[in-house]
Amino acid sequence: MIEINQISKSFDRKVALDGLSFQIPKGQIFGLLGPNGAGKTTLIRILNQIILPDNGTIRVDGKLLNESHWKNFGYLPEERGLYKSMKVIDMLVFLAKLRGMSNYDALKNTNYWLDKFDIKEWSNKYIASLSKGMSQKVQFIAAVVHEPEYLILDEPLSGFDPINVELILNELKLMKSEGKSIILSTHNMQSVEEICDDVVLLHKSKLIASDTVENLRSSVKNGLFSIRFSGNMIALANALWTDFELIETKELGNNRFQVLVRKRGERTFEDLINNLMGKLTLEAVEEKLPSMQEVFMSLITKEEVLHAE
């Protein structure tokens, strides 16, 4: 587990992080979210010991963060950079050795990952000759080649096509299942929804939310429900009565419909079920939680309003 305790950092007079405290549990995919300039990169650099905090402490598995942790951390920076004059295999072995691996292990692991991503034939290509997507893959391998316990990924999906996005996401899920912790900083909210367990939201150098993805989505839910049924729309309108408002209708054919309704007042999911039961042939009813994109926008807007007041 990583415990971040009262971390602050300023550059000249600009406060980049203002007393952040939270914990990153082991074996989770942890989302680090926030708009540009919120302080995510500063925090990531502190976690990677690239820069030191002005105040506060970070503990990794109970011990203060120090140089011996380097070998346990993997890092994929947002600003990608590799030595263009090096061959893929040499570059990866070099970076693995810097993380404390022996030459033998570095070479073995590099070959394992090149095989796994089915890019063994790139081994002797020069980095300069790789396309952006290829180079992203190499950079991802560079972050994981030394088998780190903690993996910090800053916008890991940018530059990848959908197939490779899937590949990377599956790889992250697999690592999580192996008990590794992944800290994911991204603006791709769909992937956050898909793979993150806990998230923190930073805004203007402060922590404004910290919870599981589900709890955050629930916390800003807007009373929308999705219903799939067989029957007719008049029967639906009668069932909803004045308790729920019809927002969106989609005809699926053969008298089947998919609709979106919003509750009125203090109505609940149970009220909706009670209203519909016996009046329509229900196929599915579910509460429509807001997307992480909406959660993100909602929390930031709320924070902006509070700040303005």
């Binding site: 990677n48 690239i50 600003e79 030595y83 070099f94 810097l98």
Partner: protein
């Protein structure tokens, strides 16, 4: 340190895989050897055989100058005036390479003109000058004095005042040995400039392609900087070693096969000429200078002493100067931005050259002593002192100076490491002195 070594090995490997570096390993010494070869082969390229027409209407030198047995110079006499245009274009004069014009006033105005079609070699010039001058002189002695030629020439010898140090009354340590140290010092400065800029460019490149972010997540900034400096330094040492080896080998081949005659001073004995002419030529001609150069290279340099000191001082000076180059590379917003800040370093390097010059000519001056203790200039001065051999007390001074250089290198490396750490992740700015002071103060 382990990571510094890994980075240093990568830097060295990058250079060894760089075609232009490999090419320069061989092109550099080849160019030097080619230069020496042309110097030896074509340094004295003037005409070496001449037919000379002495225009002597008053018959001043008739039968007084005879042609040499070597036939390098053949003299002919003409007892009337010839216009230059006539000599230049006239058919009957075309066979002559040069015309020496002795008018009747030569004994008064002591002015003789030699008109040539193709410039004579230095040796022929000397011979002609010497022979005409001597013969005219003999005529003047006969006409204007009662003295014998020998007596006149004894009187004519100029007074020779020989300046000698009280510490070296026999003048055993001439400054040609100092030039050896100066030359070695120049090599150090040359390589520092060359590879210092490589350090700067390498760091600026790492910064601009953003790999520093990835590297600094696994290496201390100080170790990263040290690795870079070490790796490029190894490349410099390797280049230096190969250059020395190839140039040394080339000089040996020149000596043994190509220029046996020039390298052998006794070869002058074979040429038929008077002792005076020989002395004159040996003192003034370029061949004599080559011989002095050869004597310096082959006999005066104590390579077993010079090379270890040279390597040690090269390493220390390189570390000292590379700290500045790396600090600038890390703190500059762009590579071109950094190059502006390099100018002061090059000025200091030029001061080192001046320090060497001072130490060769005025080794006991206060300024030379000051330069010995300044880490910017000490390598050059120490090498000059070593090449001269140590006088009593100077060994201690030199070791003290080396110690100052070691301490300064360590100090400036740690200062550079701080600037490196605080500047390496700052992008896209225009470097100002204010930034440097700020980052220096920051922990």
């Amino acid at each position: 340190m382990r990571n510094s070594l890994i980075i240093a090995k990568r830097e060295l490997r990058e250079r060894l895989e760089n075609r232009s570096f490999i090419a320069m390993l061989f092109i550099g010494p080849l160019l030097i050897l080619a230069f020496i070869y042309f110097l030896l082969q074509f340094g004295d390229q003037g005409k070496t055989n001449m037919k000379v027409l002495i225009v002597d209407p008053s018959g001043l030198l008739e039968n007084k100058i005879t042609s040499q047995e070597s036939k390098a110079l053949t003299y002919y006499f003409y007892d009337d005036y010839i216009e230059i245009a006539e000599f230049k274009d006239g058919k009957r004069f075309q066979e002559f390479d040069a015309m020496i014009e002795l008018n009747e006033k030569v004994l008064i105005n002591k002015k003789v003109f030699l008109f040539y079609r193709e410039a004579p070699s230095v040796d022929l010039k000397m011979k002609m000058k010497f022979e005409v001058e001597r013969r005219v002189e003999e005529v003047m002695i006969e006409q204007f004095t009662q003295l014998s030629v020998n007596a006149f020439r004894q009187i004519k010898q100029p007074l020779n005042i020989d300046f000698r140090s009280v510490y070296d009354p026999k003048n055993e340590a001439d400054n040609s040995s100092s030039w050896v140290g100066f030359f070695f010092g120049l090599i150090i400065l040359f390589f520092i400039s060359l590879f210092g800029m490589t350090v700067l460019r390498g760091i600026a490149k790492d910064k601009s392609n953003r790999i520093v972010e990835l590297m600094l997540a696994s290496v201390k900034s100080r170790d990263m900087m040290l690795g870079k400096i070490m790796g490029i330094g190894w490349a410099a040492l390797l280049q230096l070693f190969i250059w020395t080896l190839l140039v040394g080998l080339g000089l040996f081949v020149f000596k043994s096969f190509f220029f046996k005659d020039i390298f052998d001073a006794s070869s002058f004995e074979g040429i038929q000429m008077s002792e005076e002419v020989k002395n004159e030529i040996l003192t003034n001609s370029s061949i004599a200078k080559y011989n002095a150069f050869i004597d310096l290279i082959y006999h005066r340099i104590n390579f077993w002493v010079m090379i270890p000191h040279f390597v040690l001082l090269f390493v220390l000076s390189y570390l000292f100067y590379a700290s500045f180059f790396s600090a600038i590379g890390a703190t500059a917003g762009t590579e071109s931005d950094g190059q502006q800040f390099v100018i002061p370093i090059f000025v200091v390097l030029m001061v080192s050259v001046y320090a060497g010059y001072m130490s060769v000519y005025w080794p006991d001056s206060q300024l030379a002593h000051l330069f010995l203790y300044l880490p910017f200039t000490s390598a050059m001065v120490i090498l000059i002192n070593i090449s001269n051999g140590f006088a009593i007390g100077s060994y201690v001074e030199t070791m003290l100076s080396a110690l100052i250089l070691i301490v300064s290198s360590g100090l400036f490396l740690s200062i550079a490491a701080r600037l490196y750490k605080n500047g390496i992740l700052i992008y896209g700015h225009s470097l100002r002195l204010r930034n440097l002071f700020q980052w220096l103060k920051k922990s």
